[in-house]
């Protein structure tokens, strides 16, 4: 019996939230995108984590390669080698990517990115264009690689009402020990944690974000700032700036130039960044430029999984842009 609670959902509301795409393409919007366009967008918005060729950066997912490895040790599971339906890729990119900036892509951009992912898996040629119309023409290699849960049959012998209670085996030997690998995280002693917290407080009390006088009077070049804003798109999936900015994958970057390293409240920095902060690292222009050029080389152990800005001009522009943004 109905209680008459709630209200009818409006068509426009359903359209706003009902974004899922089924394997037969149901739910796809109009649009199209080609491999070349996809490559450009991918480099700008996806390569930070997934690599220029969708090969993955660090622990972030690899999207290409691995075909023919599923029956090997440590199979490589990618869109090309494992994912059964292209709709899943479209749906996920559209709904949840880029990480930290979800639902910012247009349908055409999603089509283009998915076309590029297909290309990076050698599944289409470089002149390929993906569209709503051509979508179901694409079949992924592992479409038939899945079976529905068969544990009830394949593992029927685990349903044995009378398990062995005595003399179940003749001998028992230890065949593997966890301590040999030694990968269990160390559990800090409470005392050490307390000391660390105290040290953090001391650091926080130190005059933090005071910029050296000479840097405080730099006049900003509007054109450079504008260029920097464009380059900063590469950073936006992890970093926010401006009013109301919050720390996401990376810390808020308001007033970062001239500030002490590792001082955004509430952000969980890497051990490396904490150590640099304790040593008094200040993000002046020189240090920031070196960090942005090759983050992992500059600071071994940083959480920032960004390959770096290749051109000095880009670095200068981003720094100018960062000078221009503040939370106020």
């Amino acid at each position: 019996e109905k209680l008459g609670l709630g209200r009818p959902a409006l068509p426009v509301e359903i359209a706003a939230w009902d974004l899922d795409v089924a394997p037969d393409g149901t739910g796809l919007p109009e649009g199209s995108g080609d491999v070349f366009t996809g490559e450009e967008i991918f480099a700008e918005k996806c390569a930070v984590c997934h690599g220029d060729f969708a090969e993955g950066v660090g622990n972030w997912p690899k999207l290409a390669g691995g075909q023919g490895t599923l029956d090997h040790d440590d199979p490589l599971k990618t869109v090309g080698s494992y994912w059964p339906y292209l709709s899943t890729t479209w749906d996920y990119v559209n709904r949840s990517m880029p990480f930290g900036d979800a639902q910012s892509l247009t349908p055409d951009e999603v089509y283009a990115i998915v076309a590029y992912i297909l290309y990076s898996n050698d599944l289409v040629e470089d002149d390929f264009e993906l569209s709503k119309a051509t979508f179901t023409d694409v079949e992924l290699p592992n479409t038939d690689g899945f079976i529905i849960d068969d544990r009830l049959e394949a593992e029927a012998h685990f349903w044995t009402d009378e398990p062995c209670m005595a003399n179940c085996k003749d001998s028992v030997e230890i065949t593997m020990r966890a301590r040999v690998l030694d990968i269990t995280p160390e559990v800090e002693v409470t005392k050490a944690t307390a000391a660390e917290a105290e040290a953090d407080m001391e650091r926080a009390e130190e005059p933090a974000a005071i910029a050296p006088a000479e840097e405080a009077v730099v006049v900003l070049d509007a054109e450079l700032v504008s260029k920097g804003e464009k380059t900063f798109k590469k950073c936006k999936s992890c970093h926010q700036v401006g009013e109301g900015a919050k720390s996401k994958t990376g810390p808020v970057l308001n007033n970062i130039i001239g500030a002490s390293a590792g001082n955004v409240e509430g952000f969980r920095y890497s051990k490396a960044m904490k150590a640099a902060a304790a040593d008094g690292l200040i993000w002046n222009e020189t240090e920031m430029a070196a960090f942005l050029a090759k983050p992992k080389k500059y600071m071994k152990g940083t959480k920032m999984s960004f390959a770096g800005l290749k051109k000095d001009a880009e670095i200068d522009a981003v720094i100018a842009y960062l000078r221009s943004v503040s939370g106020r």
């Binding site: 089924a22 949840s96 020990r177 990968i183």
Partner: protein
């Protein structure tokens, strides 16, 4: 010698403690500061799309406090206030509906205790004994009393069309974490919950509203639940194709492996909870659970599985919830290869790792419910090992 803790007047016996206004919503006392969730840094690329572990080695009973119940999110734990909360039911229904949080509170309510286990719990142990501690090997689990509305009630309010065979459920966070659930399960025991253990859900568990899918893998328990779509078929989302599928030795993969099979673990003694009192009376304690029904019994072995003794259940097992077991022994100080083996109402007996590998090969990630072995040494320290 007399104990000065008894013979001398202690500060706490002469001075005064905190007033009732000291802690309006309490935290554990500082001496328990090491009983916290922990994460394993090398497991994931960052801590936002990641997981941490319940300190099961240090807890007792069956109810997991929310504050130390494991977290797993795919785009971080978002902040969504009740006033900003909307739940939509659409798809193959008579009337697509939108509910506010206040609407949900006006439907008839249920209270149920269920465990929630991540399909990847013990996943790092497939390759061999890896992590030293029950928290890390078995801590992707919690068990809470949920208050909420039966999903069936909400679906009936919208009116499911005969063509509807599945529901697609998704969250309000950036990952959305959508999953397809057969209508039969959705109409059975699934809850739309807004309280856990009597209090509002914590942010990290989906405040203000999450889905509870009893006995099925934790990934389907959508947090920040925002939409339920009745569909003809499954959507085959990322979380039910590229993830949460199980690759067998021949390269084919099982999908829709929803049920969490019967499993158990000795929580103490264990690597993080060694024996410190020497020989004599010893409480062996652990947890058992099954996604296919109630736990009917747990056997404990101290000799690596050569022989087994039936443990004492602290209370009769209940449907798809944690059961606490105890075995009280007189420890003679000799080494033990400590194991536990769960049995459930469906007649299933928890298998060994060798038995699982025989069927599934070595490339599995999810659904490792194998028997765990702790090597307890003569000094009472314990280590995670595998035995023949």
């Amino acid at each position: 010698t007399p104990d000065p803790l008894i013979t001398e007047v202690q500060d706490w016996a002469s001075g005064l403690g905190d007033g009732v206004d000291a802690t309006p919503y309490g935290l554990p006392i500082e001496y328990e500061a090491d009983v916290v969730r922990r994460n394993v840094e090398w497991l994931t690329a960052d801590t936002i799309s990641s997981i941490n572990f319940t300190p099961i080695h240090a807890l007792d009973g069956t109810i997991t406090p929310q504050g130390c119940a494991f977290e797993r999110h795919h785009s971080g734990a978002i902040e969504l206030r009740k006033e900003g909360y909307r739940l939509m039911i659409n798809g193959l229904v008579d009337t697509p509906l939108v509910f506010t949080y206040a609407d949900l509170e006006r439907f008839p309510r249920e209270n149920r205790v269920y465990f929630c286990e991540c399909a990847a719990n013990s996943g790092m142990e497939w390759a061999g004994a890896q992590l030293n501690g029950a928290q890390f090997t078995h801590g992707m689990i919690h068990n809470m009393e949920y208050s909420g509305v039966s999903l069936r009630t909400l679906l009936e309010e919208a009116g499911v069309n005969p063509a509807g065979k599945w529901v697609y459920v998704e969250g309000a966070d950036a990952s959305s974490n959508g999953r397809s659930i057969p209508l039969e399960k959705a109409m059975d025991d699934v809850l739309v919950a807004f309280k856990a253990n009597g209090e509002a859900l914590r942010k990290e568990h989906g405040y203000p509203v999450r889905l509870v899918v009893p006995g099925w893998e934790g990934n389907m328990w959508i947090k920040w639940l925002r939409r339920i779509e009745v569909t003809e078929g499954p959507i085959e989302s990322r979380e039910e194709t590229s993830k949460y599928t199980d690759t067998l030795a021949d390269g084919t993969s099982r999908k829709w492996t929803w049920e969490m099979d019967a499993k158990s673990v000795v929580t103490s003694p264990s690597p993080q909870s060694p024996i410190k009192h020497g020989v004599g009376p010893l409480v062996i304690s652990g947890l058992a659970w099954s996604g296919r029904g109630a736990i009917t019994g747990v056997d404990v072995s101290v000799d690596g599985g050569k022989s087994w003794t039936e443990a004492r259940l602290a209370a009769p097992g209940t449907d798809k919830a944690l059961t606490r077991f105890y075995l009280d022994i007189n420890w003679d100080g000799s080494e033990m290869l400590l194991q536990s083996r769960a049995r459930d109402a469906s007649g299933y007996v928890q298998p060994t790792k060798a038995q699982l590998r025989e069927v599934r090969g070595l490339n599995s990630i999810y659904h490792n419910n194998a028997i765990q072995t702790w090597w307890v040494k003569t000094d009472g320290e314990a280590e995670n090992v595998e035995v023949s």
